[in-house]
Amino acid sequence: MKMLKSTLAVLTTAAVFGASGFAQAGATLDAVNKKGFVQCGVSDGLPGFSVPDASGKIVGIDADVCRAVAAAVFGDASKVKFSQLNAKERFTALQSGEIDVLSRNTTWTSSRDAGMGLIFAGVTYYDGQGFLASKKLGVKSAKELDGATICIQAGTTTELNVSDYFRANGLKYTPITFETSDESAKSLESGRCDVLTSDKSQLFAQRSKLANPGDYEVLPETISKEPLGPVVRKGDDEWLNIVKWSLFAMLDAEEAGVTSKNVEDMAKNSTNPDVRRMLGTDGEFGKDLQLRKDWIVQIVKQVGNYGEMFERNLGAGTTLKITRGQNALWNQGGLQYAPPVR
């Protein structure tokens, strides 16, 4: 499989160098307008990011980013169709034009940005690899994990990160590798391993699978950077801007205190010049992006601001119970910072 992957990567890259030249400015928006919906690539099932509910509707923050793009383009968040892609086919689907935007917990890296004919439009979620440990272990930090047995899900970067981290800190460990997250959760529960490592967003999902989730905690250390965000094809700057600013709009709305409940009232009555510009009361900032005047109003009204989206899919009200952490706004100690609309 690994060899298949690398061969594929080479072939994909080769094919894309040929294809990326064809993408013309504005081509994607024209095509999207013509077919009347945004085709969005999401994952094939990742709790809190994109997963179908009992009625088949895709829910999660990755899916909501696409809904925001649809709301910006059409003023209707429901004009989006989802392609559920696995990790192997995601880039091909975008390169071949099967989807317009890929919002599938994809880590922003230099090689993906530069070598594959793709470009990242922003960061939806700052993720990073962490550890889930039993409280009984009495460990407060990953630095105390010397000699621990660690459950790892197969996937080279996860294993590499652990080995790098333990070597850098001069610690010893025994890895046990599993194919699926269910197996590793069961092993943690049965005591085969002391801690379990994965991306932090997934650790919370793993924890909620356990019989007594309260007995386990996620250690504070983050040993790798995994900024996840939407991806578009390179060479279509207009479409890149639309996706990028749909995401920024949700962050700006949260920062200005605009929510899905008060957005219409704010659009009419707010005296704050920032809010008036953002909601299209003053100025024509949507026009430069080839969008309508009230694009941010539509995004916030139909999808919510970033904070609402986060709480709905990942926050304390869900089984995942993920805290904002690095994903808090910049003025609340987090990393989420969006340029202003003006």
């Binding site: 095509a31 990742l46 997963v51 179908p52 509910d53 392609s83 559920q84 071949s96 089984t319």
Partner: protein, 365 residues
Amino acid sequence: MTTHQFKPDLPPPVATVGVYAWLRANLFSSVPNTLLTLVALYLIWLIVPPLLSWAIFQATWLGDSREQCTPSGACWLFIEQRFGQFMYGYYPPELRWRVDLTVLLAVVGAAPLFVARFTHKLRYGIAFLVLYPILAYCLLSGGMLGLEHVPTTQWGGLMLNLILATVGIAGALPLGILLALGRRSKLPAVRVVCVTFIEFWRGVPLITVLFMASVMLPLFLPEGMSFDKMLRALIGIILFESAYVAEVVRGGMQAIPKGQYEAAAAMALGYWRSMFLVVLPQALKLVIPGLVNTFIALFKDTSLVYIVGLFELLNSVKQASADPKWLGMATEGYVFAALVFWIFCFGMSRYSMHLERKLDTGHKR
């Protein structure tokens, strides 16, 4: 004169009849056998009671959320809640009657073929084989006759397994027979083409075929042109399976004595007629176990389409168990999927046994 009165027969010794004798003959006939029996009983004791307790006695059957489930037993609520998705995938719930109708039509339509007294079986069978797929496609896909279009990306669950398997079988069987004939042909060009085809498709794993069809093919097509993912997988499956069917059928043809070929030739039958009237009917009957074996394998292999992102039964289960509301229910899901696959495969194997008995003409040794 007195007639001799025979004494009534004594009953057989207690040790040779009844439960006791059976146990003794089958389970405790020797020391190693007794030991094996005891070990087996111990294993059953270890495995079965906890399994039954998990799956039935301590399981939760009624309710609608994960919180209502007892942690010590299975949570079948998850299956109940997602049952529609496991069966139909993302086929719109209000249109699912169309899938039911398609299945019903298949059952009703094929029923006359199984009635012994029905006389026009061949003509009816051919008409059914030609008309039914067209009708089924119209019903499932829609887009005509006022039926709403449902793209194949929304097809899924068990329905997708069944479609892939039945169309795969229906496509692979005729193609496989032709390939088998071609491989035994006296024309070198035909033979070389068939041998190359069979050896190529038998030499690559199905997963690679599917992967190529879904991930690589779009890169070679012009931008924006993409054809249906399910169709791509289906064509891959048909080509792949036809190579296997060809080899099974060829095995049957080689078992037919040369006299049969010569007898057909002596009756002035041409190539096609001697093949279809004399050789193939006997050969196909011989290879029923092999063919059914191939088809059972094909049915199970349909779950491999998960690799190309199609949501057949197993992938639907996997995906549903990623729902934050039902995290940790993967075991129940997989048990359910295994049970469904087992029921279908067991059914197929029973039917093949029935078919063998029915077509048996006394060559059994």
